[in-house]
Symmetry: C2
DNA sequence: CAAGATAGACAACCAGGTTCACTATTACCG
DNA sequence: CGGTAATAGTGAACCTGGTTGTCTATCTTG
């Protein structure tokens, strides 16, 4: 029959948990040869997927304008994570595809996230972690990609 | 004996949970007369506290440069949430203090966060919510203010 | 009292987002 | 079949909120 914590702790803890995972991911990615990876890069590349996509499509997936998506693609291209080729069936379109380096980054990220999850499981217990994930699924939207991550904070 | 979800779901769910709470907070704040409140404003004002602070101090608390803290204070000042007065014992310093409107916003935020937490409790159960918070405390840093919230995502 | 530290402010820059405007290409329909 | 409408990409101008560097004014201290 303990007293409830103040309501503002919950969002803070959620955000801190997110930050801890993301920070550790990128520290480890840097060690594994991806020092320029940024939090949103992996996320965007996941949205690009193995099939490739276009700027307009990516913008829709991420919930940002096509111009913003275009800028992000440019950055990723400079870093060598994606490449663009024109679509021969529709010469307006430019297909964005992951390069081997981009795929490597995603593969490593997946492995690191699994390791981090295992570390959490070791701390709080396997059952509790699964319960935590199940509970969060109940109070969050299903569509995991429409984070509107970029820019949501200042808007 | 179910299969573990992929590790990348955990950070996403944490972030989504955070976003849901913050978005609902600001929708409700807008309804209650604070339509210009932004996610970081409440956070920064919490860091300013009832005692007041200075730009340099605030920057240290938040983990940003004093210039960035100064810009944020300007914004808050334009919105009428804080005011600056010079310190008579050290005329270099300018003390930043919450205005009544700023205090009102914080008070309302606290109440709304409590309500939102209660809604989560109704969905996943009181015990489970407490367990979730307790577990997150185990895997996140104690110092809740050094979020480095502003700008961490792009850096 | 001179030298160093500190507070605040200004400028230039960067990242990433927005909207508006424009071109090139494709799709549709009378 | 051809003209109109829709779509893909790009550029420009602007906003926010961060950064570093520099400068002045004001303590603080040896």
């Amino acid at each position: 029959m303990s007293i409830d914590p103040p309501g503002f702790e919950l969002p803070l803890r959620l955000f801190l948990g997110f930050r801890v995972l993301i920070d550790e991911l990128h520290a480890e990615l840097a060690r594994q040869g991806h020092p320029h990876a940024r939090p949103m890069h992996g996320f965007v590349m996941q949205a690009i997927g193995t099939e490739g996509t276009t700027a307009v499509e990516l913008g829709r997936t991420l919930g940002v304008s096509k111009q913003a998506a275009g800028k992000t693609i440019e950055t990723l291209e400079r870093l060598g994570y994606v490449e663009r080729a024109r679509d021969h069936r529709d010469t307006r379109r430019k297909i964005v595809r992951l390069t081997p380096s981009g795929v490597d980054m995603l593969v490593r990220s997946a492995r690191i996230f699994d390791d981090l999850r295992a570390r959490w499981a070791a701390v709080i217990g396997d059952e509790r972690l699964r319960a935590l994930e199940a509970d969060l699924r109940k109070v969050t939207p299903q569509d995991v990609f429409r984070l509107d991550v970029p820019g949501w904070f200042g808007a």
